[in-house]
Amino acid sequence: MKNNWYETAMRVAVIAGIFSALVLAILAANGWRSVPVTTLKAGKVADLKLELRKHPKDEGLKTQLRRIDLQLRQGFFRRRALAQDGALLLLGGLAIFLLAVKFAKQYRFRNPRPDGELADPRPAAAGGRYAVAVTGVMLAGVLTGLVLLSRHDVSFEYLASAAPPTKADYPTAEALAKNWPVFRGPGGCGVAKSTGVPATWDGKKGTNILWKTKVPLPGENSPVVWGDAVFLSGANEHQREVYCFDANTGKLRWKKPVTDLSCADKSPLQVMEDTGYAAPTMVTDGKRAVAMFANGDLACFDFTGKRLWAKNMGKPDNMYGLGSSLTFYKNRLILQFDQGTAAEDGKSALLALDMTSGRQVWKTKRPVPTSWSTPNVIDTGTRAEIITCANPWVIAYNPEDGKELWRAEVLGGDVAPSPVFAGGMVFAVNSGANLAAIHPGGTGNVTKTHVAWLYADDLPEIVSPVSNGELVYIVYTYGTLTCLDAKTGKKVWSQTVEDEFKSSPTVVGDRIFLMDTNGVMHFLSGGRAYKELGKAALGEPSNCSPAFMNGRIYIRGKYNLYCIGKKG
């Protein structure tokens, strides 16, 4: 009886086994012949399609193509159905096979035949130790192989340059103060320490004009000066150039093009005519000069004109054209790269790049849309802060790691004026919102706690404010000048003049220098009453802010760079 069961079970097992093997073979063959999805349209079909392009009206060709295409598609789905059905059959066959074998096994249970001898465990243990040791050696070999492969790994190439520079390679505070390294001078607040500037000049007549040199390409960026080198950049739709002028003679020492920087977006750039293609002012730290252009090109040159590094930051999503100038903190280039029409676009960011290599040190996303204001690195006495202005926040960041320190909701609209710091307060302004005086040094949202005062009349939309610590001056584009008390925010005087202003004012000693769009510099008294002390004409229009150094003023007009100083 039992034998019958055993034999039956074994027969079932054999049949199921053969069946399973057959199904497996069919499935394997099916899989082998399966057409990958791509060839559904490639191969024969692709050839026929090429033919069809040459003879677009050939009906016979079309019929042939359609027939082959249908065959291919039907075959594809048929094979897929076969694979799925076959898998089920295979599973079923294997299950029956296994069950039958297990059933049969119970009739062939072999009784154990122990020999009662207990082996000495030592040889087995020794064998085990040798085997483990050999395994250990093999694993060590594998690890060594990994080490050898790792030696040539690509990642080492860029790992090395990720290390921060070992030596601090940036100018001292004294050196910075003696030059004009960034937009609106050392400190970025439009306060010139230079003495001995002339009281008047005339560009057409040449009075007190030391030299005047044509700038090859136009640009709205203002001059920056270090030692005897003056830097400017210029660009049009197709060309971008960086210039270095000799501060003593005005000679163009070198001009270098900025091209061939890869950018994913190759579509043509549109900028507003007023902004131009080279609006951001350059920076220089005594060894390098960095320029930024409206298409996102960023280039760094040394003082001899050799290009140290250059990269494209991506085409900015900026409807008027990139306007924020560069600034720097120690050896880090600071770039306010705000983009997008709404904060939710999430495109805006503040970046810090290493000045020597251009490598990004940190990047902090900003919850704001596009802005045209320049960031300002200030020293509150206890810490350094990067003050940025945009809609609707004034945000301060830690320059070491880019983390946000505080923010105040005081602005709105298209923010172009840049913030200044004087008398322990940050002044930020935009037309349609406020002129705000904020105490720095706070944490988090300080709108209710650190805003000293707000003022809302005749606010500028382009011109940045200036302050000597006691008084704050703001300039509305169409001629209204206002002076307020820095501590209380009360208006001290207000005056409307007939001129237009786009250039930012500068505090020079006890006077305020303010240039209108015709290139005429207005000298105002720095006292508590409005008094115009005089004017000096450049001889051509200008929107740029002047640079003051060693008793000289460098002004970029629409066509020429002027150096103004006492002759003789």
Binding site: A124, G127, G128, A131, T135, L143, A264, Q360
Partner: protein, 428 residues
């Protein structure tokens, strides 16, 4: 107006465009009553069903412990195995399983932004907790991978002791490597190379199907090859099972050293008694033991150093590092052409700086991870040598608490199992 732009088409082909779907054509204004259909979004399996799986797992673990230890029923365990294949295997497609959950835990530890789902945490924890009480009952009838191997075992052969020791190192290595790649967010190796998952999915890539066939074929003659020589989760169970509250014992009451169960275990988990005399003397063994204990830090150091220096090539498993390497090579003109990864990079317009920074951070993780992995391998080898130098005196036939999979096959070999109650009482 017909919306047919023959000329404009060509212009669009010429002008490169941001290929992320800007709305180039305004929404249609229908004159008829046509309304566009709604995009269908079929829901996934209901979340509460996943919690039901946890309950089923807990019940199955309890049942496995009961069947193995209390009822001592091989048939019962087999029936549970069949249920596991049906439910955890084919119904749930073998995923998520406790073996793979190690990687999720590692990922949660290594990457702070990953939140470990409760179900995965439960699948990781429950069999380990069960091991503290009923030993490796999970392996017996609840693990779908073990079940697949269990049912194909037809004619088990004995693996020589030295080979078993050598292969026994592999699960530790696999655990270390899997944890490294999971914690860095590079890959889930255990899932990718799971030999039995293609059975439960009933489909798979050719390589994986081949591995499945090979493993099943080996599994017909070698008992549970994956469980014994590869399973990383088994490493954790091995550590906990010796502390179990209730252990598998071959003899229900008292071993009488009849030797009948000597070759009963197809998985080599029976520890046989040692001879009465202590051959060789004690000093020989002690010297060796001390030597291996002293060598342990050496193994750790060597392994750790090799692992640290070998981390770079392993980091290529991470997609970001791979992408960064490729883009860097292309930017510096060392390779021609592009790959899908570098194309994706260029298309997104990400800055190379950011990519290289991200890749650098991961590479640093691999330096540290490689150090840990190398040290771990050194530690495993060293400790295995130490344990193989310790001699234990045994009088009874015992189930190795760490290795016994609680399958219950050995019970029928013991005469006590079949003895009538009165005889048992006399013994016990």
């Amino acid at each position: 107006m017909k919306r047919f732009y023959p000329v404009y088409c060509w212009l669009l082909l010429i002008l490169p465009t941001l290929a992320f779907g800007e709305e180039r054509f305004p929404p249609p204004e229908y004159e008829s009553t046509y309304r566009p259909p709604i995009t269908q979004a079929p829901a996934p399996r209901a979340e509460w069903l996943a919690y039901l799986d946890i309950a089923v797992l807990a019940a199955a673990l309890a049942l496995a412990g009961y069947l193995t230890l209390k009822r001592r029923s091989r048939r019962g365990v087999f029936a549970l195995t069949a249920f596991t294949i049906a439910y955890f295997g084919f119904f749930r497609h073998g995923c998520v399983c406790p073996v793979g959950s190690i990687q999720n835990v590692a990922l949660a530890i290594g990457q702070p932004q990953y939140a470990l789902p409760i179900v995965v945490a439960a699948f990781f924890l429950l069999p380990l907790v069960a091991a503290l009480f009923v030993g490796r009952a999970f392996c017996a009838g609840v693990c779908p991978l073990g079940a697949a191997q269990d049912v194909v075992l037809l004619r088990p052969m004995k693996v020589p002791a030295w080979l078993e020791q050598a292969l026994g190192v592999l699960p530790y290595i696999y655990l270390g490597v899997a944890v490294l790649f999971a914690a860095t967010g590079s890959a889930f190796l255990v899932c990718r190379y799971d030999p039995f998952i293609s059975i439960y999915r009933m489909s798979g890539a050719p390589l994986l199907l081949t591995i499945t066939v090979v493993m099943l074929a080996i599994g017909t003659v070698v008992g549970r090859p994956y469980c014994r020589f590869l399973c990383p989760y088994g490493v954790l169970l091995r550590w906990l099972s010796p502390f179990a509250r209730w252990r598998v014992s071959i003899a229900p009451k008292q071993c009488v050293q009849c030797h009948l169960c000597k070759d009963a275990c197809p998985f080599g988990a029976i520890r046989i008694p040692t001879p009465a005399e202590n051959p060789g003397g004690r000093r020989e063994g002690k010297g060796r033991l001390v030597l291996y204990l002293l060598l342990l830090p050496v193994f750790l150091a060597v392994g750790g150093t090799l692992g640290y220096w070998g981390g770079a090539v392993l980091s290529g498993q991470h997609m970001t590092v791979r992408q960064a390497n490729r883009v860097w090579l292309e930017e510096h003109g060392k390779v021609k052409g592009t790959t899908l990864e570098s194309d994706a990079f260029h298309r997104h317009g990400q800055s190379l700086d950011e990519l290289l920074q991200a890749a650098t951070a991961i590479r640093r993780q691999f330096d540290f991870g490689g150090l840990l992995l190398g040290g771990w391998i050194g530690l495993v080898i060293g400790l295995k040598l130490v344990f193989l130098s310790i001699r234990r005196r045994r009088t009874d036939y015992e189930a190795d608490p760490a290795a016994c999979l609680a399958c219950g096959r050995c019970y029928r070999f013991c005469p006590e199992e079949h003895a009538p109650a009165e005889v048992l009482e006399k013994i016990g």
